[in-house]
Subunit: 548 residues, 2 copies
């Protein structure tokens, strides 16, 4: 079936002419076409969860190789290849089944999951309005709404007083935050702001943004900048340092404590060592609020103290964990986040918004002045154009989706999701502990946990072993088993957990392959997670146990 997608010949009756063009701009080609569109769009808009129900994971009969072979034609046809209704039909019948059913409650491997069906409606409206929030002239009320929703989330994080928000919510000169493409560009923007504030203009020097990094280092008498973050820091921090000219090697990984949080002793030691060299500058410390691999949260209050003492920019990467602030029961886990200079939060993660939506928030409404850009045709000085202080130029009005979602869900609606994830992860951890076949590797603090196949007798052997080579050999075998297990389960297609490689506090020299679960779908129950464990046990016992 798939091959028909690419080999179906161009139908001679399809000609690109003005009549055709007006139709695709304004309305369906004919009533039949409209009927087909309505049929499918209604399925898409109201039946998100039934839509791919028969498929889960990257699982269907076609291998990636076979799939690739069907998509090799690189010539754009002269005339239309297909009518709109046929394109939509093909998408639903032939493409969607080969996509990944991230909405399934059995898909617990990544930070991409089911989204409320209304999010698709809101995205549709944003697309139909096609506003460009780079400037007021192409967005008007959407820019105003964006400023308001940014202030709302800023208040959730920083909780400053009413006067502060009254002064800033619609203030054209100040910026409480910005919408960006995702967590990576949010982290990049945070370090960009920190870099530019650190190497600000001074006598005879016009600032790093104007003169460049080499000139800035010279003007400030240093040779090197470092950014400190625990070993669990997201790779986007390295990428950001690379892009910004700081060098990704200068993102210094700090060791973990036993709870997978940054080791404060190690951090202080590193700061003191770097500060003892007057040619090195500690640009920023990054605290993680929801590590990608383990979901753990660094001790933000302590990090804030350390950063204040040493006058270092304190950034919190809460791309994952930020919405925990909605939960009365669990918001204490992020205590200290209100003392961060900047905070990353992703909309497409635990705000359950469609891809792609990231955000950056700043404690100081003047911080982003350090990255302002103007042009004659857009972002004029003194205007409220939102493109002045942000990495991107043109961008869609995703802020409208968040604003509406907050109204539809309320804090309590999001809180239910957060609580469900955290509590289901804790129950799942208990279940793993009960089963002899598994070892819980990272205890969940939020809604992410890691574990591995490691039968009780092997665990005892590892615990008793004093010979490092023995340990390593056993762990290598376990790594192969867990790698194979994850692949076999994924290919079977009933469920999907991901895998990553961790280095544990107690044996930081050893790579440990672990299975990783992210519990964000409210339909994911403990029973479903038990089924996933059952399947893993079956696969292990029937196909992999003899590797031990």
């Amino acid at each position: 079936m798939l091959n028909t997608i690419t080999t179906r010949p161009t139908r001679p009756e399809l000609v690109a002419d003005w009549e055709h063009l007006f139709k695709v701009f304004i309305r369906p080609e004919d009533d039949d076409c409209k009927a087909v569109l309505i049929k499918y769009m209604e399925r898409i808009l109201f039946g998100l969860h039934d839509f791919q129900k028969t498929y889960v994971g990257i699982t269907e009969a076609k291998s990636l190789k076979d799939l690739s072979e069907a998509f090799i034609n690189t010539i754009i046809s002269e005339n239309p290849e297909k009518k709109l209704a046929d394109v939509i039909t093909c998408l639903i019948k032939e493409i969607a089944p080969h996509a990944v059913n991230v909405a399934s409650p059995y898909f617990v491997g990544h930070m991409t999951s089911a989204i409320p069906f209304f999010m698709v409606h809101l995205k549709t409206i944003v697309a139909a309005l096609n506003q460009n929030v780079v400037k007021l002239e192409t967005s008007k009320v959407l820019s105003v709404i964006e400023k308001q929703v940014i202030a709302k989330i800023h208040r959730l994080i920083y909780n400053k007083d009413q006067k502060f928000y009254d002064e800033n919510v619609q203030n054209a000169d100040t910026t409480l935050g910005t919408f960006v493409e995702g967590g990576t560009t949010a982290n990049l923007t945070a370090l960009w702001v920190a870099r530019n504030k650190r190497f600000a203009p001074k006598n005879g020097f016009s600032g790093i943004e104007a003169e460049g990094l080499a000139a800035a280092y010279k003007a400030y008498g240093i040779d090197r900048c470092v950014v400190l973050v625990s070993r669990l820091g997201h790779y986007s921090l390295r990428k950001s340092a690379g892009v910004l000219g700081i060098g990704n090697r200068n993102v210094i990984p700090i060791e973990l404590d036993e709870r997978n949080k940054v080791d404060l002793g190690g951090l202080k030691k590193a700061i003191n060592e770097f500060k003892s060299d007057s040619r090195t500058c500690v640009l920023a410390v990054v605290g993680i609020a929801g590590a990608t691999e383990t979901g753990t949260v660094d001790p933000l209050e302590d990090l804030a103290d350390i950063c204040r003492e040493h006058k270092i920019h304190f950034h919190v990467d809460a791309a994952w964990g930020g919405p925990t602030l909605f939960s009365q029961q669990y918001k204490h886990l992020l205590k200290g986040i209100d003392r961060a200079d900047s905070v990353t939060i992703d909309g497409h993660k635990q705000f359950y918004m469609p891809m792609s939506c990231g955000m950056l928030y700043l404690s100081d409404p003047a911080s982003m002045d350090a990255i302002a850009y103007y042009a004659n045709y857009v972002n004029r000085m003194g205007s409220v154009d939102l493109g002045i202080k942000t990495l991107a130029g043109s961008r869609e009005a995703n802020s409208l989706i968040l604003d509406c979602a907050l109204k539809i869900m309320g804090k309590k609606g999001y809180s239910l999701l957060i609580n469900h994830g955290i509590e289901t992860a804790a129950a799942f951890a208990d279940e793993i502990r009960k089963r002899d076949t598994f070892e819980l590797v990272s205890v969940p603090e939020l809604n992410i946990l890691t574990y591995r196949i490691c039968p009780a007798d092997i665990r005892e052997k590892l615990a008793a072993s004093t010979n490092e080579n023995d340990r390593r050999r056993i762990n290598e075998t376990l790594n192969n088993i867990n790698r194979d297990l994850q692949r076999i389960q994924r290919e079977a297609g009933n469920s999907f957990v991901s895998r990553t490689t961790l280095r544990l506090c107690r044996h930081p020299e050893e790579d440990i392959v672990v299975l990783r679960c992210v519990i964000m779908n409210p339909m994911t129950t403990l029973d479903i997670l038990r089924e996933i464990l059952d399947e893993q046990e079956t696969i292990f016992k029937s196909r992999l146990a003899d590797m031990l």
Copy 2:
């Protein structure tokens, strides 16, 4: 009416509980709600052009100040504020009228315009699938389709042989291009690639991405990098140089010739001067294919020759003009683009895709290796994960929209749009020339032109003037008139042209405020443009002429 948006009290019956939550995740609250949604979604999906018909520009009674005052509440409510159907109703009835009607054929001021209605359907499907193309495990077939459509556009630009595309279209190790958020991040990525290739690892130096820019300059024995582009280069190039640590002051503006193209003599002179200083490196030359302000195209073939001679990275910013390649009649205007090392094209501009979609294409399929990043949990070495070589992490599958659009439109469909824009702009220029009140400032090469109010007698006076102060005084008055005119017309709300400030080749020391038209909406006819000129004449004669 607007005030009711924020002051309507939270309805006590709305409570966030699990029942509510399941409903918003899976289906409308009740049949009434579904009926409302269907009513509006059908309007949105099939009536894009009727949708905002009564409004154009940023025009309604509410001033920005009044509008802002309605959006100052910064507290997120505990329980849901509104039912979904009420939120959608409010969007349609109370928010949309205060958005900008960019789809109107009378909205000719910016590069944001009407999009074919099917684009909204496709965006809806992308949102519903919610795939994340950062990795195969959350996108599968969408990653394969993305590679294919990238190869299609690469072929449109570079037209290499069949063997080249067969080898690369689905090759996991090579990269013909990448989807990014927009033109800004495309230009940033191009300069990032150029920077990293120029300061590659060598004996004792691990490369600029790892060690940073200061170490790189030291290793290569230089103090400064420059990027050369005509004065009409987009401000994102300065921003990119700022972000990358090169310094935005090191984007060197080259003067224009009389046709608003980069002056080749000036460029060569600059290159020779910079190259005579062994401590300065000319990192890249940027050719513009469709300048933001004038739509003009630099002589790409000549720039390619110069860059080859001097071994400089040649980037073409075709964010606007790229799709001119679809037109048999006009693709010659971009001759030489196939010799660029990298090319920026925006999907949300002349591919008529919804916001936000940019793209970068690379001549050499190995170029992007210079910016590759890996992590244990995503983008593993050797995988086909598309997140390895791109600025962003998580991102939506906009490539699917482009792929479908190419099938629905065909090359000829896009060509009709391109030809209409270019030919209508030419006819509009003739119309401006015919009218005594106006001066055509930049002759359209593509579909953008600039002009100003400058009555025939004033033009004669300016041409005859030998006194610089006289000239300046007259131009300042004209600037004020044109600034006021643009504002008055915008506020009247029947149509929208933008304004910018140019420096002309013949008087590069003078700032000239011009009116700017972008003809991309196929519904924008010469008659409509005549109406816009009529209105401008009326405003000028009735309200502004006495300023002269």
